[in-house]
Symmetry: D3
Subunit: 334 residues, 6 copies
């Protein structure tokens, strides 16, 4: 459940002020997770609201194209959220301008969804911190969805996904901490844990220096506080807009695992990489894999995402497994 | 004074639901008039409000590129209005989806502008019926602008430009009729006169059958009611999305003139053709030309607009005059 | 049931020998019908076979994108059929080069499908003369499909769709005449009826001169011979590659109806217009509409198809009904 | 023998002042003739001079791509001539801006070519009035080429091709009349005959009204004055930039033939249509066809050129013959 | 002699399942060698077979464009082989999907070529292991070509070029070992030598660790077994799809030379780099250069190929020599 | 004051000989400086001459688009200078082909400008060594401009910018040394100082090894000789076309400062990076910043330029300051 937006990006590395055309993609945190999971062979239903015009329909089509079921995408409201993206390079960061206020999904109401029906045969429910941040409406809908999911015995995962443009740390913690009671699998990075939940790892991430022990300590406290079954975190080392290091950690209350580390350069499009990581974790856990396998799958999958234009991660299980098992040398596959 | 929007159009004749990229243009009724007039060698200042981010800046740049002065475009608000366009062909109409609510300009306030300064050395002030339709804020700003313009002895023209998505005929008449006291040159077509002012010509425009006498009668009543110096109207015969007839009429309270008739096929892009007509009328009158010359210039200019992609009419005075004097046979100019 | 192909077209009106890029679409007679019907709100399942690689997957995705169910698209074989298209203009015809031999679908086998399951809850089964023409394998599969459909009480429609590159009139008649026993609704034009069934209308279509009476006579004989519930035919007047006339006729054994006539110019893409017509007829009849309504819906829908790039007809019921009721003057819809 | 230029055209119908990219083609009167003739199966050698850098090489490659032999294209000079093109539509003319001064070819010298070697095994030599208009250098080279060609018994054709930007009628007549002694086949339209040779048909071409008798009279005088074996002229009726009528006439000193008339709409790209006509005439005559066949072939070929983007006419003999024999109804060729 | 294919690649780094257009190139192992050699100033004739339609013609044109002679490219068969390419980045490999079965060239017959005529004035004959792998027809034609070339005293080079999708190591060795009797210059990498000839270097190439001594030993055995005049091998270190090391070795039976090593990052397009290496070797040897020069030329040329989009290596001798002599610092050449 | 040219670049990393379209930008040393300075909030007037046609107008529009005042761009002459660019990668250099002879600006005359009026309210005058290199006309105009600027008390900066295609070191020194009397701020790199002024630093720049002490020594001598207030130099380490090091030095006659060093990889477009550096220095100094701040601003600004396609540096003061203060890790800005 979440918002799907129209993404408009200037071509190549051009800036928004110079572009005479824009590339069209559709995405959003939860939508990106949905497509990844469907690509891996899971049956996924996206829950959202889009306007009843062609642009809203195109967003629905973008999900259908990759097999995501859209039965629970209701129509209404005036506009689809939009974000503008220009893709940086080396010393220049990518830049996102959001134009998502007053979107169809942000004006959703509880009556738009029959959550009991939605969760009847479901195994897993995923949401991100963006959804309750959008509006009081979405926060309330999400709360009801969590209650219904819990009632239906569905596992719930949350990607904390803090967005400073949407809410303050105070408001975020106020809302998010109360929602954590419904969450089984908590996913985030060091900033998310700090801003959404008030747990601040001591890592100096800007310099790419991270201390696993420190993370383990934080994870233990998070499990203790909120009763999570799993805490998961990614660790990005940003050397430049074109060159990142990438790894992740998971903790199930007993074992703390650190994944393999990937060097990713050049980066084609890093938007949606966190979402592709969440999808990898869910894919492993919902299919009964051990946490170590799930973690490695998720890290490899999201490493590959950095090489694919657009929000969504168009890779197959076979491709991810090939990278997991060490085949990242880039020989041509004929 | 008016709104400038981001125009996103699907390439060629493709539909919005199938397009993977969008062509970027910036336009809007009054902005289109501004560019045309600057192209004809007049010094034009655009009055508006755009958000202080790159997309807003790109809108400003689109005006500067064609020489329009942007000193009175203030920055503020959250978003630039957007409209999506798919270009029809033969039996299929072009389609516009507006996403302009909550735009930076619609949330403008009187304090954003110093109208006395703006009109100090001005000769002409042009606005369209879209501006007061956007919000009560814009309607109030416009009223103040008209008062200041009148005080400064500036000629005021209005393109009635009725938009049913923005307001009802009742609201339109309520607002527009009271603003007509400030208007010297009233421009519109048969639908605009009906919906904005309550004057309905008897013409059966859908069939391309129009009776000049009937228009003359209406024009006389409009002049009598509102004290216009000039009433001007275009007459479009829509045979198909690719094939239109085009002419216009003007009345100065004494003489009623009907222009030459143009057959335009195939049409490349008819968005902004009404605006290019207004600009033609203003160009003639502000430069002291007779109403007949102004009318013929305006009709020829706007006929050419149908052949140019984008909102704005990128033609020179020489090109318009060449068509006015009969050179429309399309020989290659080498 | 049918083949879906990769369509590679040179951009704009360029020729294949000069193009440095190709536009990618996916289509095929029956696939085009499927997308149209899904667009009109019917639940459609496509039955086919594609190779288990990314190009095959992209073909499946093109159907999913517009909501067509692909549960019965099996994977196997080596290649997806391809066709190259260059789009003509005025005096120059469009040109299609087929490269569909040895395609995955042409090497299909009866064991690939469980037709009883496929037709269990179905209302309608549509196929075209291309399917049995592809190979003996496809012809045999189609025969079995027809038997299963009939057993399940499903209405069967056939678009005769003669293709001289695929088989001779002799072979076509041999195969098609024996399949006609399963057909309830027979769709075709004068050439199809001649080459596939041996019924030749006297119409001089090349000159756009057609005699409805003559068609009626032929239709009566076809109904008598094959027991069709409906015989339907389109009538294209080809004035040039950019300018066609378009109408159609239907006969239910009692009443013979001729549709409104549309002049379509300029034509954007006429590939798939016949398929969009078939979809229109099926949409009307499967939803219990009278044959006259179904015919007018089908003709208007397929007239609109000529204005849309790509094989498939991306129009809504509302848009078709708007044209049916006379709104073809191409005014901008705002 | 002639100049080949880089053609830079704004995409679609956009204007030069608004285009952010340009389409690249290479062409020029004689180069266009060369490609057409090679396409028809004749062995063609192009004689010219281009600069020894990548842009010059790309011009050579554009000829080689279509099989034209470039053994006699020498390297030297500083720049390739350029022309900018924007493609008009309906009431707006296409516009050409030349930037060809100081081009490599215009600074050619007699020592660059060994004309005796060039014409040793040649059957035909074609040039146009553009070549002597470029510079005194090219005029002198051309004179020497004509002398060598005549000495070698080669038939010589000339397309008068008057260009007012390159020279005045006085200078043109001064140069061209003295070159006519070497010409066997004289090709031009009414304006060319007037400006280059001083023979003015009485036709009112602007209105599309032409009197064959008048042309015949002029042709007779031209044959008498210059000793041409054939005089050939095209007749274009320019209704608009998108809609032309097209036919031609030939006279061999005895019989005066008028071709079939073609209506061409919409026009894709009319640049190079005159050259494709010349190539058609040459193809017929050099292969021993009667003048009537040659004329019909040339008119049909050049009618097709109007439908193809770029300077050169990418059609086959079979396609031209198909149109000559009446197949211009634009049915899809599958 | 070899196959030329249509290459369809998704733009930039997009995946095939997401691309709405494809870039068109034409290439194939031997065709790529042909273009490179012609670019270096050698006169090259390509021997192949393509279908007699526009797509086949476009393949021929792609060779002619760069000056390759196509007199020995015969027409026939149904289809041009196709391959789809998506270009990887960093951790994601490029991927090739072949659709080349039943191609025109794979169905070639000995009667299609007069090898005695073809080799009459030739100096060199190059082929690759792909040609005999395509079909028994091509293997037999190749055998006859080798015999004719030998008879004509032509030097023969072979790029082993093992393709696992085309044949098994057993079949490859069976065919290739018997053809080696005709080969003077044997080119390949460690995998080719192993799969085609059964000689396996001990190098651990995946890790970029290679032992020149080991290669020398293998080369000595290959020379002894097959009587090659030269054995040549490239050594690619695949760090990622964007970052490769590149060097090569040559052995003439006496001296074993190892080239300079190049680090190539980022890689634009590595398809065809092996072919550009073969062309470099041939260019050196056929022009009488020492093997060390030939090797350095070949390695530098193929290093440059990695920076050029498309299959073929569009560099000049001067550009290669500049890199050979150390000028690889990438300063702008003005 | 300087020339603005049409830049035609092949898309992506394609070569000029293979490109079928060109991207259009407008730029030139001084024009690039003008746009940068206007982007930083300074009011900039460009002084130049362009032809009175659409391509000249488009050059003017490219300046107006970014707010540069074009009141002093006069119209006249025949052509706009052009340069062709292909963008290299890794081992392949970018390549520029100039076609700027006989340009409108190179044929400028003193009477075209009223320098007293131009400099009346100006603070700063910038020119580069390209301007006097173009022609004797431009050199003379520049000399007069310098005299007028000096008279008006305007600070004068010069980017030495040696171009070997335009003049020899002898001619350059002859002209440039005499112009140095008017220069307050001298900008250049080691090659410029050598070729234009005869001062050769001992640095071995090709290897990226530079000795600050040596530069300081040279700078001292330059200040002594010409009386500069500031001497500024950039230092580029060219590792490859995609990977450069970048830093700079400034000397005000007393303090010698060396900037921070940036590693820039991958490089998107390095054309115009020197100009963006000059603009950064001017921005700092004209706004009264210390030389250290100005230097760091200039280096950071020009480092960012390497990531932006086109000649001009589309960055804001805020973006440059963010990089100056260490934020170059490329995190997405949301």
């Amino acid at each position: 459940m979440g918002e799907i937006m129209l993404r408009l990006s200037s071509p190549g590395n051009s800036r928004l002020v110079q572009s005479e055309s824009m590339e069209v993609n559709y995405g959003g945190g939860e939508a990106n997770v949905a497509v990844s999971l469907q690509n891996y062979g899971n049956e996924v239903y996206f829950v959202s609201r889009v306007p009843a015009h062609e642009v809203g329909q195109a967003a629905v089509n973008s999900l259908r194209r990759y097999g995501v079921h859209t039965d629970y995408v209701v129509r209404g409201g005036d506009r689809l959220g939009i974000y503008f993206l220009e893709t940086g390079s080396s010393l220049r960061s990518s830049k996102v301008i959001y134009d998502r206020s007053h979107s169809s999904f942000s004006e959703v109401a509880p009556k738009d969804f029959d959550f009991d029906a939605i969760f009847r045969d479901a195994d897993w429910f995923h949401w991100s911190g963006i959804t309750p941040a959008l509006s009081d409406n979405t926060a309330e809908c999400l709360r009801l969805a969590c209650i219904a999911a819990r009632k239906a015995g569905v596992t719930i995962s949350c990607d904390l996904n803090y967005r400073s443009k949407l809410w303050s740390p105070e408001k975020a913690q106020n809302v998010m901490r109360s929602l954590m009671q419904y969450v089984d699998v908590c996913i985030g990075n060091e900033e998310d844990a700090d801003k959404c939940l008030g747990f601040r790892p001591e890592a100096n991430v800007a310099d790419g220096k991270t201390d696993a022990d420190d993370y383990k300590h934080i994870f233990q406290r998070m499990v203790k506080t909120f009763g999570f079954k799993y805490v998961v975190s990614t660790l990005r080392e940003s050397h430049s807009a074109s060159d990142n290091g990438w790894k992740a950690m998971i903790y199930d209350g007993q074992t703390f695992s650190v994944s393999r580390h990937y060097k990713i350069t050049p980066i084609v499009d890093r938007v949606g990489s966190g979402d592709s990581f969440s999808a990898g974790i869910i894919h492993g856990l919902v299919n009964g894999k051990p946490q170590e396998w799930s973690l490695e799958f998720a890290v490899a999958a999201s490493a590959l995402k950095h090489t694919i234009p657009g929000d969504v991660n168009l890779v197959s299980v076979a491709e991810v497994e090939s990278l997991m098992t060490g085949n990242g040398n880039g020989r041509v596959e004929r």
